[in-house]
């Protein structure tokens, strides 16, 4: 019985989390970085819900709902930031968005 055990859900969630982390650390396209962050939040949601089912408590569901609300808030701010940065630099490369990090790149 694969679908009835906690470990198989954790394996799927960890694979998704690793793919998301891989997208954040090794891609440069800022849209792909944003989507990888969303994917990691989804993997954490899956872990929360599987553990809630495992312990038979609803608290995991509540945490997953709060993660979804935070992801919605993050989506609004992140996408408007991307629009502002794209208007200024005309590029989606995350390497050139470093005006807060160094003075000389202004």
């Amino acid at each position: 019985m694969i679908a009835g055990s906690l470990f198989s859900y954790i394996v799927v969630a960890m694979l998704l989390l690793s793919i998301g982390l891989l997208g954040v650390i090794s891609r440069k396209n800022i849209f792909v970085i944003y989507m990888s962050i969303e994917l990691m939040l989804n993997a954490i949601n899956l872990i929360f819900i599987a553990l809630g089912r495992h312990h038979h408590s609803m608290s995991g569901h509540i945490m997953a709902m709060m993660v979804i609300a935070i992801a919605a808030a993050e989506a609004a701010v992140f996408l408007s930031l991307i629009v502002v940065l794209y208007r200024r630099k005309k590029s989606l490369d995350s390497d050139i968005f470093r005006t807060l990090a160094q003075k000389e790149s202004l």
Binding site: I19, N29, F31, V32, H54, H56, S59, A71, A73, A75
Partner: protein
């Protein structure tokens, strides 16, 4: 039967996630992310979280990814505006090698847990017990989430405004 559904859904989810990381065009990445998210909502339904199944489809696939695709089309990104990633496959491979120890650590920790699920009530995961739990034990975080959403709304409006000279 449930095993077959689980294997199908998880392979769709992992395939969609891999496609999202590997595709060059952002629109293709967003479409494969939608596939991944819908397969994940099916996994939520397998875990008898029927309310979160609907929330996942409505909020994620319906609102967030649609907003993302809308922004991608609104920006009208050309090939010249995309970053050139000549060593993409090598960095992805090296990153995957670096993430193996983390996975082994966490999966070993979970392997020790008792693996089968407890018996569930009839209405586990429905909207009524979720609402009871939310308003009995989690009232303050719920209200703080509403403040967070208000702040994010104001922040998005401020960022999206046309700049005066």
């Amino acid at each position: 039967m449930l095993d077959v559904i689980f294997l199908l859904l998880s392979s769709f989810a992992i395939g969609g996630a891999l496609g999202m990381v590997l595709f060059h065009q952002p629109v293709h990445s967003a479409l494969s992310l939608i596939l991944c998210i819908i397969a994940l909502s099916g996994l939520f339904a397998l875990l008898s979280a029927s309310f979160l199944f609907m929330v996942q489809i409505i909020v994620y696939a319906g609102a967030i990814i649609t907003l993302l695709i809308f922004i991608i089309m609104f920006l009208n990104v050309k090939e010249a505006n995309l970053p050139k990633e000549p060593h993409k496959n090598i960095t992805l491979f090296l990153g995957a090698l670096g993430l193996i120890p983390l996975n082994i650590l966490i999966l070993r920790a979970f392997y020790k847990l008792p693996s089968s699920f407890l018996e569930k009530n009839d209405n586990f995961g429905d909207i009524k017990p979720l609402g009871m739990e939310l308003f009995e034990h989690w009232l303050l975080p719920f209200e703080l989430i509403s403040i967070l959403l208000l702040v994010a709304l104001i922040g998005a409006v401020v960022f999206g405004r046309k700049e005066e000279a």
